[in-house]
Symmetry: C2
Subunit: 302 residues, 2 copies
Amino acid sequence: MSEYSAKSLHDGLVAHGLILPTTVQGVFGRSAVFEDVLQRVADLITRMAKDDGAEVMLFPPVLERKTLERSGYLESFPHLAGSVFSFTGDDAQHKELCSRVHHGEPWADLQSMTDVVLIPAACYPLYPHLAGRLPKGGRTVDMQHWVFRHEPSPEPTRMQSFRVREFVRAGSPEEVVAWRDLWLERGLGMLRKLGLPAEADTASDPFFGRGGRMLAAGQREAKLKFEVLVPVISRENPTALCSFNYHQDHFGQPFGIQTEDGKVAHTACLGFGMERVVMALFRTHGYVPVEWPRAVREVLWP
Amino acid sequence: MSEYSAKSLHDGLVAHGLILPTTVQGVFGRSAVFEDVLQRVADLITRMAKDDGAEVMLFPPVLERKTLERSGYLESFPHLAGSVFSFTGDDAQHKELCSRVHHGEPWADLQSMTDVVLIPAACYPLYPHLAGRLPKGGRTVDMQHWVFRHEPSPEPTRMQSFRVREFVRAGSPEEVVAWRDLWLERGLGMLRKLGLPAEADTASDPFFGRGGRMLAAGQREAKLKFEVLVPVISRENPTALCSFNYHQDHFGQPFGIQTEDGKVAHTACLGFGMERVVMALFRTHGYVPVEWPRAVREVLWP
């Protein structure tokens, strides 16, 4: 392989027809080969989780705005959120809109905020549906969603729109932490079985602004977030392919989620960045899946 | 089955846990059973297309804004488009944003337009990638995308966010029209094999405003749009499950797509509304797939 850099990965993916770039950073198409590998990784995760009794749900890429407002996301990550606006004008305003678009002039002021936003993290649409008392032992849910982050970047691994396979556990603090620890081991094991040099580490989220630095330090100190990392665009700064987040009562409180005995439920989630896992495979084993090591192929195409 | 209405379908889907409503109309979760049926329908379409040599591509639910602006969509359907806004302020503005959210006050003016919009129809992200001369015989592309339409409605079949399996053909007018006609027969045949009383009809798009009525009449008269319809929420007004659109040079012109011999290429697309096909199956055969007629099950679970 060539040297590890954002540019060499981007150019390799493009040259092999695996991604189709647009003029917007972090927004690109995926080829049939890219999608086949992604689906195989998703199937592998499904096999790993098969005895967990997780409920499968799927939500669209848009979320009710009210859920975002209740969740605390805008306090922590306002710069990453995407809200959906639409045109609600009359014929005259439409004429104005068409003229502006035709002349390449701004038309933002002809748009109004709607009741939906883009999903910022795969687990957000779920929390309103967990409201009330959980059954004994809590609940585990399995989802794969398109999420949005407004962070245009030339790094192919940092996308504005990408898929996260996410599991959420809601229950008592003990149940939730034990489950998070189990999946940290599973995630590490899975990526290593795919021939990826994966390592776990504590981590923090990209909280906004001056106050954000303190939040990040607190999160790291309390070991609330772990990541499993693999070198993809840099050997020195490996890329997080999965993250494991213990939310304590951050969602249980605003969304009214309670344990069987009426306490505020704790939650944790873990997410695999699906495109990142696929890119790590291409970076590590080459851009042509039929040429990958037999041991890796046998795991993905059993 | 109970009487055909939007309410009875909605209530049936909810009672059987097939959809998970939110407080926003047209935005809801899907259950594992719903998703299994949807995947089986997708597989059936794949089998139907297997000898066509279609290229498979996948784009995220967001699209570069420039593509929407070039496409003519805002001229025809400004009211359905969704544009993505984000926060680009500083610490002081963030404090203001948090205060507004906390007090339930509007915060639209603290958002700025980004370079992306939501995909309005599954084929839009493709056109910039077809620019230039097509190979002899043109190109056919197979995609399934999440699309957005800002039209909140209590009808479960009218969603704000849903998946369309779409094929696009670019080539000479003769190639494109012959292909559209072939798929109209295929779509009808597929839905009838699934036990659905499908009928084809000419149709028109929901063009905006006063001028829109004339555009719709012209489209219908020139037979540019066909739909395959099945009763889902009404026996009298069946629901379009697939649509077949001949664009003539509507996309070939602005996106610079040319046939092998240098003429402006024509395009056509056909789309299956995946959730609508699934809902038509539940409405027609009942809410429990294991109890569906054996002939239908054998088509979906071969």
